[in-house]
């Protein structure tokens, strides 16, 4: 359940729909905001237009390629001599290599019997029999696919990355949780980090650390630590004031208060943070392989280079399984924390002795494995799935690509989508005067949020112009909007169906799990085969990736609508459709807005990766920067993506009037 259900979802879903009068007031306030903006526009637009014209003015751009090129040269020339590298970053990189190697050697020493047994027992202890069975099957399947060694490499990397993310995140969160000022400072940063496509900051990391595991691990930590920090801070700050008062009146020192009251009270948030960090880290596996992460991600990446979807899938399935096992285990552990004391499960599995028991059993099984002589996975036990998968892909593409009667082939759809949706949208956005774009962004962000969010959004957009990448950014934006609309139409539709039928939801759930954890790279190639090179396949991949989150949030939101309201509507004789339209959907409005927000962030992340399949624009610039080591090109595009993400998030982020801080 908790897979990728980011914390704000849970928070926002609790916000009850506002009663009517408040809504009207809001509308009136919205009107006032719009009027104010219109007045400002009436004054400013003629001035700006007279001075600068409709295209982004060249006098307002800053060319940063010179300094960035010099920085890049300096780093390459001094990487082996300057103290910053030899005395600080070098040790950091060393520590990463040592710890990953340590975990990897341990996993290899345990052998397949030891690892499988250890993980299964652990899952049993913290999460129950069903999840233990899932873990057991998952590891056996990974072995059967011939992916045991890469799986262990990825696992070693993940263990170190998750531990580092959790430690860094918890420390940051602790600091922010204890100091109000720091919290105010960190919160916008963390909020922003969560919407950044990881693709954007691979390049600087590679430049400093070079291709390899340290760079990959650090990029993963940067991506996975923020949710932990965010949730720790929120958990600590959300502690019941009454309890804290009681504890301090008992004469507890600050440290005692922290250890005995605040941290235990924040347990659930902490575990949710760990869960989120794990999922974020796993979603980086393939992307990080572009900068040398090795393991499963590298197998996926290499298979795609020779257009071998089957081989890519064989490496992707273990990633999906790892994600599902880790998610279920941590999520179940989080749920159990609430229901203490633990009375479920066999007696043997309770108490402290169990941990020792798990250790001993694992060691014994590892020894058994070793004695029977197979350290790594037994060579004969491998099932090759690449061939049938490729045959299936060929068949599917062959039959769907074009010439399907009545509805036309996928290639025709893609052409229509590009010609009728993407092209007009891109041309429209590019032709729109820059101040017009800024005004629209300001209006949208202000209507849905506060003047602070509006200001952030406008500044982010302006930064794109200043960096001189206005045109490609508009191109990327048009792809994001088009893909988002498709995602929302499909997502809301399926979400409504799933909310209406428990059985449908049960069937849907595993499908969504797989869609959400399957590395996007795996379906990039089939998508090209179906939709031809260009922006259409990028948009299609984005829809596939963002759809599950939108469906989930919609379903959840509709389900949580007050049953009494539904009942009364029905007793008044409303049809099912009327109930849905007039009661359920309006009441679930916060959830739907949240779905839009999540959808936008996810779509942007994939549209960028779409640079690999002809999406062009900013994504292509980042790919080029990475591939040619061109810091100026890649970093500018990366920053533009960040700004675009920031703007899109602020424009769609419903700001429930928060009591703590303003997510500016």
């Amino acid at each position: 359940m908790s897979m990728f259900t980011a914390p704000p979802i849970a928070a926002a879903l609790k916000v009850d729909a506002k009663p009517r009068p408040v809504q009207q007031l809001l509308n009136r306030r919205g009107l006032a905001k719009l009027l104010l903006l219109a007045v400002a526009a009436a004054v400013l637009v003629p001035l700006l237009h007279a001075k600068y014209g409709a295209a982004w003015p060249s006098s307002l751009t800053v060319d940063v390629s010179g300094p960035l090129g010099r920085t890049s040269d300096w780093i390459i020339d001094n990487r082996d001599s300057h103290w910053l590298f030899t005395y600080f970053l070098g040790h950091l990189s060393n520590a990463v290599v040592l710890s990953v190697r340590g975990v990897y050697l341990l996993l290899l020493a345990l052998g397949w019997t030891g690892v499988t047994a250890g993980v299964t027992l652990l899952a049993w202890r913290v999460a129950g029999v069903r999840i233990a069975a899932t873990a057991l099957i998952s590891f056996l399947v990974s072995g059967l696919l011939g992916m045991w060694v890469p799986t262990m490499q990825t696992l070693a990397l993940m263990v170190v990355a998750v531990v580092a993310s959790v430690v860094v995140g918890a420390l940051l969160g602790l600091a922010a949780g204890l100091s109000g000022r720091l919290f105010k400072l960190l919160r916008p940063v963390l909020d922003t980090m969560q919407v950044l496509p990881a693709f954007a900051y691979l390049l600087p990391v590679v430049l400093v650390f070079g291709i390899g595991v340290p760079a990959a691990l650090l990029a993963t930590v940067i991506y996975a630590a923020p949710p932990m920090a965010r949730l720790t801070a929120l958990g600590l700050r959300g502690a019941d004031a009454g309890v804290l008062e009681a504890v301090s009146s008992l004469g507890a020192t600050g440290r005692q208060r922290l250890l005995t009251a605040r941290l235990p009270l924040a347990r659930k948030e902490l575990l949710l943070g760990v869960n989120q960090s794990i999922m974020m880290a796993l979603s980086m596996v393939v992307i990080a392989s572009m900068i040398g992460a090795a393991g499963l991600g590298d197998r996926v990446y290499q298979a795609l280079a020779s257009v071998d979807v089957g081989a890519a899938l064989a490496a992707a399935i273990p990633i999906v399984l790892l994600a599902i096992v880790m998610d279920r285990t941590t999520a179940a552990a989080g749920e159990r924390l609430g229901a203490e004391p633990d009375t479920s499960g066999p007696k043997l599995l309770r108490g402290r002795l169990v941990w020792a028991g798990i250790g001993v059993l694992t060691a014994v099984l590892a020894l058994v494995g070793r004695l029977t002589g197979s350290l790594v996975w037994p060579t004969g036990w491998v099932v090759a799935i690449a061939r049938p998968v490729n045959d299936f892909k060929e068949w599917m593409v062959g039959h769907l690509y074009s010439g399907v009667p009545v509805i036309g082939g996928t290639a025709d759809w893609a052409a229509h989508f590009t010609n009728w949706v993407l092209n007009p949208l891109r041309d429209g956005l590019t032709a729109l005067p820059w101040y017009g774009t800024l005004l629209i962004v300001a209006a949208l962000a202000w209507l849905i949020g506060t003047w602070r969010t509006a200001l952030t959004a406008v500044l982010a957009m302006a930064a794109i112009g200043v960096l001189g990448v206005w045109k490609p950014s508009m191109n990327t934006l048009s792809q994001v909007i088009a893909a988002l609309v498709v995602t929302l139409v499909l997502g809301f539709g399926i979400g409504v169906l799933a909310a209406g039928s428990k059985r449908f939801e049960a069937i849907l759930r595993p499908v969504l799990d797989v869609m959400q954890t399957m590395p996007q790279f795996v379906y990039l190639i089939p998508v090209v085969a179906l939709f031809a090179v260009g922006r259409a396949p990028a948009a299609a991949a984005a829809v596939v990736y963002a759809l599950p989150a939108v469906i989930r949030i919609t379903t959840q939101g509709l389900r949580q609508v007050d049953a009494a309201a539904m009942e009364s509507a029905r007793s008044l004789g409303a049809t099912r459709w009327q109930t849905l339209r007039q009661v359920q959907l309006p009441l679930a409005r916060p959830a739907l807005l949240l779905a839009v927000n999540q959808g936008v962030v996810l779509v942007l992340a994939v549209v960028i990766i779409g640079g690999l399949v002809g999406g062009g624009a900013l994504g292509y610039d980042v790919v080029t920067g990475l591939a040619t080591g061109d810091l100026a090109l890649g970093l500018v595009a990366g920053v533009a993506i960040v700004c675009l993400g920031l703007m899109l998030d602020r424009v769609t982020q419903p700001t429930e009037r928060r009591t703590t801080g303003k997510g500016a």
Binding site: S179, G292, G615
Partner: protein, 330 residues
Amino acid sequence: MSRTRTLTKIAGTSVVTGAVLLSLTSCGKADMTKQASPFAAAKGSKSVTLSVQTWVGAQSNVAVAKYLLESKLGYHVDTVQVDEIPAWDALSQGRVDAILEDWGHPDQEQRYVKDKKTITAGGGNGVTGHIGWYVPKYWADKHPEVTNWKNLNKVASQLRTSESGNKGQLMDGSPSYVTNDKALVKNLKLNYEVVFAGSEAAQITQIQQFAKQKKPFLTYWYEPQWLFNQVPMEEVKLPKYTDACAEKGVKDPTSIDCAYPTTPLQKFFNTDFAKSGSSAAAFLKHFSWSKDDQNEVSEMIASGGLSADEAAKRWVDKHPDVWKKWLPKR
């Protein structure tokens, strides 16, 4: 009050932990440009790391070298997939020991081979590479005029796609490949739009799709490449390559208006590795084969569905006369 104290303590603890961690790793300098991969084989065993580029020809070089190093010389071989230019950086740092196929990167050569001397040139690998514009044979047979750039404007309307708008589409591949296509289209006044597929995989998939439907297309492509065996293509004549044109291009890349050169593909080694005198270094220095040899292996990998190791084994079994010469004399 107590809050600030806790904060200071936390800050203090984290600083101490950090310091301990740092001192644990080792004291003094740590040159991160000399660190091995955590997944490399244990110290003491003979091991080599080779860079594999994304295209299949390069994978064939590595597959055969790897197979021979492992089966005949008793090495353990690790491979790392890296893009062309980052591969130079990795080679310079010793993260990889050798690149077996380089298509010419004068900037990098200047920096690492001549200035820093961390990379040593390893001679040619026997294959000559050529980049050009290609059209499918089934189209060229019907319309022989399309193999000359002067006639391309006449057929531009046949090559329109939704990505190229009302111009013809010239498809380019991965951004890491050497390309002057944008400059060429502009300087030769062609009514074409360069559409970047973004990766070679996407480009190959698209070419295969076009070929299945017998649709005309124009693409940036290169030889040797296994796809020619599946989709026969013919090169489009561009204005003749001259040294003067190339020199002009070095000064201003947007001014190039002639064809791509033919490039004898080069090997490069990490200097320490080359000087180590190991049998692997000697073997890789001698490594050199023909375009047909390479294509044979590539085809087995890319369309025969064999794993790289299996394809290399089959080739090695068939051609002992070629590889026997590479083995160092005992």
